[in-house]
């Protein structure tokens, strides 16, 4: 069905340098479609995607969101596309989920949909990087986001600059991450 998925997952790396090419809206639509088809708690579909592909908007937003202690992430303003991951949690999956289960399910849902987008982008030759380090308050202000909309992160996206050394990513061994049938 999809024999090379594990290979894609193995070779994926966070891309922070892009080759300067624009990304066609048609290509973006395919990535967004993969995200749209993601499952979500009670099919609540809390995801909202604010896609920045206008260079001037990205520069201007970058000066705001990646300033001060957030300047570490300044590289992201050189991506041809920034996707701001927003959520509009509904009553069931958002509030009841949080009250009863103490879990804001919509964050899991954002992780699921974002992964569909990231893997789909990779399969089209694009590189991506999840971003969690940016000025949340200034992001809200820049776009005038209403109260019911949660900012959950960003994904930078573009064609990778060739010749980037693929960093060998360290991971804990499976034995440390997994237990079978008992926690003890």
């Amino acid at each position: 069905m999809n024999a090379s998925l594990l290979e894609s997952i193995r070779t994926r790396f966070s891309v922070r340098k892009f080759d300067g090419r624009c990304v066609d809206r048609e290509i973006l639509q395919i990535c967004l479609e993969a995200a749209r088809l993601a499952p979500s708690a009670e099919n609540s579909q809390p995801w909202r995607f604010l896609i920045l592909d206008d260079p001037e908007t990205i520069r201007s937003f970058g000066r705001s969101a990646f300033s001060g202690i957030y300047s570490l992430t300044g590289w992201a303003a050189s991506a041809p596309v920034l996707i701001v991951l927003l959520a509009e949690p509904d009553l069931i999956a958002g509030r009841i989920g949080k009250w009863i289960q103490r879990l804001p399910f919509y964050l899991l849902d954002m992780g699921i949909a974002g992964t569909h987008l990231v893997l789909q982008a990779q399969s089209l030759g694009l590189g991506t990087c999840w971003i969690g380090w940016f000025d949340l308050r200034k992001t809200r202000k820049f776009f005038g986001l209403p109260k019911g909309i949660k900012v959950c992160g960003m994904i930078a996206l573009g064609y990778p600059q060739p010749g980037q050394p693929v960093r060998k990513r360290s991971r804990k061994p499976l034995e440390e991450l997994c237990r079978f049938n008992s926690w003890k």
Copy 2:
């Protein structure tokens, strides 16, 4: 690279009926390996996977976790494998992320790793279903989970019962989910 990914995503559905076959540990390892290779905030790797594949453990756990108002999810106790998604957030991605960004990043990370697992399982002919509706308190108690471990959900996994009608899943149109360069 992975041309059929969108097709996999299109044809995925939540599987709640299984054909009774066991799932070999070797197959499970491949799915877990896909999850292990997932990116996470600051490479913090907060995921811990508690895999239930012993039928008696699943039955006994099911009587506890899927009782009362949670009996809607009772079908999950008939899955050959239940993977309890746990997180052990570290200082940076867990606490500082929550303080500064007001986002428990580890939930995004759990969504990302879980999606790797789910898509990998599908590519091996397995069916899965995310589960968020279960007795959290009884789950903690059943396994004697320590305080630093968060329960984030479960994934039921097994070979799908053949002949299940694939439900046409409704989704909001992309136009409703996406905006370009401005929220207004």
